[in-house]
């Protein structure tokens, strides 16, 4: 209805934007995928202190709108905070944006855009 079958049947990868530890761990679990050359695209982005916000945004853009094979985008909450306005305005069902905690930054349910929507709906 909201999303047709064709919209998500090919989405079989999980993308991740996060700090080195989170990305390493998730890659160890086996979610890493590099598309075949010539335009080999990674489905993960390591963000450290030096990474530009524009680079994060570009990766987010690429994972959410350009690539059609990603079903879930995992993003560290502290990284999500940097592009919060993009995440708050992102309303599509596919791919799903999931904010995950990182090692240094414990999870704060108050910041999560989906949880905030839940709270707003219940009038809290």
């Amino acid at each position: 209805m909201a999303a047709s079958q064709a919209d998500y049947k090919d989405r079989q990868f999980i993308a991740v934007i996060g700090d080195e530890d989170s990305v390493t761990g998730l890659l160890l679990a086996g979610i890493g995928h590099v598309t075949s050359p010539p335009d080999s695209q990674k489905n993960f982005l390591v963000v450290d202190g030096k990474t530009e916000t524009s680079a994060i945004e570009a990766a987010f853009e690429s994972f959410t709108t350009q690539r059609k094979d990603i079903g879930i985008v995992l993003i560290n909450q502290h990284v999500a905070d940097k592009i919060r306005y993009r995440i708050d305005t992102y309303t599509a069902a596919f791919p799903t944006i999931l904010e995950i905690p990182s090692k240094e930054h414990p999870y704060d349910p108050e910041k999560d855009s989906v949880l905030r929507r839940v709270r707003r709906l219940f009038g809290e």
Partner: protein, 265 residues
């Protein structure tokens, strides 16, 4: 009564009464269906939001454990494996499959994770030392990813349901309201009107029949009376004729025999 309220412009006939009754039934069925759909969706939605809340908390714990096991790996391997891991990632072992669930005509997609066979990008990671820790870390993270996938399904369902409920409520509130406050009362009014008109016709008909019957009764009574009178007249006539010969046999003075009975015709 018949003029009260809003009603449809129909002729009060039995046929249109039937049509109106069918219409009322349809409106009531549709109304309850829409209401039920909206209720089912809302129920589902509340359940999902509750589960999202739970799953998010669970995710916090799981990710903490996973991060800890990664720290163990770093300690055991004695160096950062991040770079090596990032470089050797080639093809995803962990993949998603989507399936659909149908809730009152709304398709909710759900992710399902599965592992592809014979695909190991990190065969050499931790070969020197800490291989066991690496293995354990992978398992921990695999479990974490499963939790994340579950959470992602819930979240997708949440986003879609949110959207659908908005639409259904817009339609589902307007239409039942319209059905409840406009269509159903109006149809009921029309039925009432038709019924009262038909009753009125019935009463008129009954009255007319009664009148006709009364008139008929009067006519018969009058006819009977006439017949009786005729009969009586005939009887008295024949009586007189019978009497006359007697008069002849005994010739008497007619004038002398007092007064005759009155002959009534």
């Amino acid at each position: 009564m018949s003029g009260a309220g809003d009603r449809e412009a129909v002729f009060p006939t039995r046929q249109s009464l039937g049509i109106m009754k069918a219409k009322l039934k349809g409106a009531e069925t549709g109304h309850s269906l829409l209401k039920r759909k909206s209720e089912a969706l809302t129920k589902r939605f509340r359940e999902i939001t509750r589960r999202i809340d739970e799953a998010k908390r669970k995710m916090g714990r799981v990710m903490q454990i996973a991060a800890f096991s990664l720290a163990e790996v770093t300690y055991a391997v004695g160096g950062d494996i991040g770079y090596q891991v990032q470089e050797s990632a080639k093809s995803a072992r962990f993949r998603l499959r989507t399936k659909q669930e149908n809730v009152s005509g709304v398709f909710l997609p759900a992710f399902e994770s599965y592992l592809t066979e014979g695909n190991n990008d990190f065969g050499l990671t931790g070969l020197g030392k800490g291989g066991q820790q690496v293995q354990r870390c992978r398992e921990t993270y695999a479990r974490a990813v499963e939790t994340l996938v579950e959470l992602a399904s819930l979240q997708t369902a949440f986003v879609i349901l949110d959207e659908v409920i908005k639409v259904v409520n817009r339609r589902g509130e307007y239409l039942p309201l319209k059905a409840e406050h406009v269509i159903i009362p109006r149809t009921e009014n029309t039925i009432k009107y038709i019924n009262s008109e038909l009753d009125e016709l019935d009463r008129e008909e009954f009255y007319r029949l009664k009148k006709v019957a009364g008139k008929k009764q009067r006519d018969t009574a009058a006819a009977d009376a006439e017949m009786k009178a005729k009969k009586a007249a005939a009887v008295s006539e024949s009586n007189r004729e019978n009497v006359e010969p007697k008069d002849h046999s005994a010739p008497a003075d007619i004038l002398a025999t007092g007064e005759d009975d009155d002959v009534i015709f």
